[in-house]
Symmetry: C2
Subunit: 360 residues, 2 copies
């Protein structure tokens, strides 16, 4: 993997990644010329005991641009620069112009505790092709993207103000996606956010009692049970978990409990790419249309400690419960975090198993 | 408040509530004749350490019925019975035909822990009028609904399999509502669900340190700060909290830390109804159209103990962040439970403050 670090005219960083050496003299474009004014701040939610971030300038963020302007496509016309340059790059990562986490301003006072919204928000452009969905990318290209996520986790992890790195992809207008050029985002949080903290708590308790990995043991049980497996490879797996909270939910992981992206070996990365591609192709071929989903990659906290209890994995949550019906999160899910499923994971897994796909 | 307990032909209970004595000889109708077959079960989510409920029969639940059949309207034609009878009732409560919690069957085994989905799901029909939104109801009628929620909490609280009673309302097609006749739901959970458990944890810690109520002190600070107040009554309040997670989020509560609906006194109920009506009218008049929202009422756990740290309150989460843009929950909210706001609570409160309403 080759890379080139650049700086945009408005001061934001851009890194280009390639499987081949990158052309020289590529300049970083930006649709914006004013320096980034980011003054996000955190407020403490007293009842829930968690931080909320406030970034009022995000109201002006790019929203469903007309088809003639795709800010993620390589710049074709220097008069209308986009976020990425022309050149032989394969994957591009840049600092979000409208970051929910980024603290360069003052922190206002409030009747609740406040703090700088430290951290960072990055955008990961999957390829130069605005039409190439992640599942349509080659296994080698998906593997490159996973390596890029490792490089970002490593770089962001060097920062003192970053405690947790969460790559995620929102896909589909149904879940509010405004830029349709396939991309992911990375949020680098100044604290371990509530969901990751809870997962750590559970994994640590299990590791403390058994000396084994919670997810690793669960994967072993899923493989033995076999009825919900979607991909059972030499080193990685994809499956509908027995405790799925969303219809068609899948988890993708290595069998070995690897704590974060950086510690994956080459074979694991390739097999993880195969597992992910299999799941994504099945999603899109289930109803022969793109499946909207949220995909989140959980890894170990960035606290400088060893995390033998942590196990990098992706969770994918599709937006539909049947071909025609969205799964809405409402009263019980949002107010109680108590998920109600109207389908058994075994039924949804069977539907996905019956979709035939070939890895290119 | 008067009430009458009835049983539907399929075995489900129905309670009619009225401000005047109810007519005699009302019979409970049901669109269904077969006895309720509910075999929901819980599975333990190993990574998050929380229960998920599976109720596969919910796939067949009533979905956007044509306008000529409103299952919540009083039965007009005995050949096509609805869920409520004709008669002089003001509010009706019945057992959900498609409950996410209701355990009458066997619990299947799984590679994760399983348990009966004990508890109950009820539907609270706000009035006989399919067009009468909650905010349009009189203060007296809203007060009656609050008393009904108290009666349901008391009754459900007598059950050994109920640990937490959560009334909530989902309003609007934008958040997936399928029955447009105004109504709420009550979920009576067999455990204290994660969000309520976290709130209890925070409130208990605060009470232990200060001997005071966490929300009561926050309300005092909001009243003193005054910039986010929507209703500041003699006994109850409505405000946009300084730590709002949703645009236009409001909390409605009594000033006194009352742990649950049953312990509200008459004056508090009336002023709570005024606070709620004020917020709801402002929501609907902000853009002169019905505002979709989720409203959740948090109260003390049903564990037979005193809860001086608990403070009954409603949180209302509207679905829009501006007139034309929905607030979608995606990557950071769903995967991290770390909410990102693109507007300051102070700005949204000001918008609501500028909407003029009159309490009928």
């Amino acid at each position: 993997m080759y890379w080139e670090d650049l700086v945009k005219p408005d001061g934001r960083h851009l890194t280009l990644y390639g499987r081949n050496p990158l052309e020289k003299d590529i300049e970083a474009p930006s649709p914006f010329t004013e320096p980034l004014q980011s003054s996000a701040h955190l407020r403490w939610h007293v009842l829930r005991g968690q931080w909320v971030t406030y970034a009022p300038y995000r109201q002006d963020r790019t929203f469903l641009p007309p088809p003639e302007f795709n800010p993620l496509a390589p710049t074709a016309d220097p008069v209308h620069p986009t976020e990425t340059p022309a050149g032989n790059w394969d994957v591009a990562v840049f600092e979000n112009r409208f970051p929910a986490l980024a603290s360069r301003g003052d922190v206002p006072s409030s009747i609740v505790d406040t703090a700088p919204a430290a951290g960072a928000c990055e955008v990961v452009v999957f390829s130069q092709d605005a039409q190439m969905d992640l599942g349509a990318a080659s296994v080698q290209h998906i593997a490159l993207i996973l390596r890029v996520l490792g490089d970002r986790t490593r770089r962001l992890g060097k920062r003192d103000d970053v405690m947790y790195v969460l790559p995620f992809q929102n896909r589909g207008a149904e879940i509010g996606v405004t830029l349709h050029h396939p991309h992911a985002q990375i949020y680098a949080y100044p604290t371990v956010p509530p969901v990751a903290a809870r997962m750590q708590e559970m994994a640590l308790a299990y590791y403390g009692t058994t000396g084994r990995g919670l997810l690793a043991d669960h994967i072993e049980a899923e493989r033995a049970d076999s009825v919900r497996m979607i991909y059972d490879g030499s080193q990685s797996v994809g499956f509908v978990p027995a405790c799925a909270r969303y219809p068609y939910e899948t988890w993708v992981a290595t069998q070995r409990p690897v704590p974060n992206f950086q510690e994956l070996d080459d074979g694991e990365i390739l097999d993880l790419a195969r597992a992910l591609k299999t799941v994504l192709l099945k999603y899109d071929r289930l109803w022969n249309r793109p499946m909207p989903y949220v995909m989140a990659w959980y890894q170990a906290p960035n606290d400088g400690k060893q995390h033998p209890e942590s196990h990098l994995h992706a969770e994918l949550w599709p937006a539909y419960r049947t071909r025609d019906r969205l799964k809405y999160l409402a009263g019980t899910e949002l107010a109680a975090d108590f998920f109600a499923m109207d389908a058994l994971p075994e039924e949804k897994a069977l539907e996905l198993q019956q979709v035939e796909v070939e890895l290119a």
